[in-house]
């Protein structure tokens, strides 16, 4: 399974729907997508990871990079994930302290913290 990416605008936020495997091979595509969004002025991103089947530390690095880029514009990067296998890597790396992680896109779109 390769990586699938699609984006849509919801109000003032942009939802990036990611599917498949985010690893050392596919992570650069996600990085390009996040950079494109930030360079075209989308600074409040919701990354929907519900259809992600695999995420490794390369993928985590790309997400942290995306967070840093939106923060440079006082933006936000929220994650949507309820899958235990994906949440586990955020927990063991302590990145749950870095990213707001929501249980649905709706919740992430409404969040203001």
């Amino acid at each position: 399974m390769d990586l699938s990416l699609s984006t849509r605008t919801e109000g003032d936020r942009t939802v990036v729907t990611v599917g498949g495997e985010i690893d050392v091979y596919t992570a650069p595509k996600l990085r390009e997508q996040l950079i494109d969004l930030v360079s075209s002025g989308n600074y409040d991103l919701v990354v929907d990871m519900e259809n992600v089947d695999f995420l490794d530390s390369t993928g985590l690095g790309v997400l942290v990079g995306g967070l840093k880029r939106v923060r440079a514009h006082e933006g936000s990067l929220r994650l949507v994930c309820t899958q235990e296998r994906i949440l586990k890597i955020f927990r063991i790396t302590g990145l749950t302290k870095v990213f707001p992680i929501h249980s649905s896109v709706d919740e992430a779109l409404k969040a203001t913290d």
């Binding site: 050392v24 530390s57 990079g65 840093k68 063991i92 790396t93 870095v98």
Partner: protein
Amino acid sequence: MATVEVSFTALPAHVRTARLVALAVARRAGVSDDLLDEVRLAVGEACSRAVGVHQNKAQHAPVFMRLVDEQDRFTVEVVDVGPLEAAVTGADLDLDADALAEPAPPDAGRDALPDILPPGFGLAVISGLVEDVSVTSEIDGTHVRMTWPASDVMAPTAD
């Protein structure tokens, strides 16, 4: 003892293949279902790290992976030709959350931001995941060895 050996050109695209092979052999070795995600992630981290090392230091040398199905355990060994970076343990997973959330410099271009996650982070993830892991620097390079319990599926049944 059954062994599967794989050597692959140090390309990111092959890491997925290595994960799939490891997963298939782990399943056959009798590693329990709830450990298979851990096997997949840990093998992926070990192979990604090895590919990174080779791309910097020995592009043409293959990365080597050995999968050993012993009676009650399953071992994966990933070997690269590079020296081991500074010793890493699970403790290195203690990332500085504030530093990670720091904004990128405003002039950051399209290039990857430097050192987002510390070197050795992949190994630290493995240490955080896998109970039985050893990382050793040997004459032919760095060996990452990970072992999981496995039921003895090939053993003859009692009846």
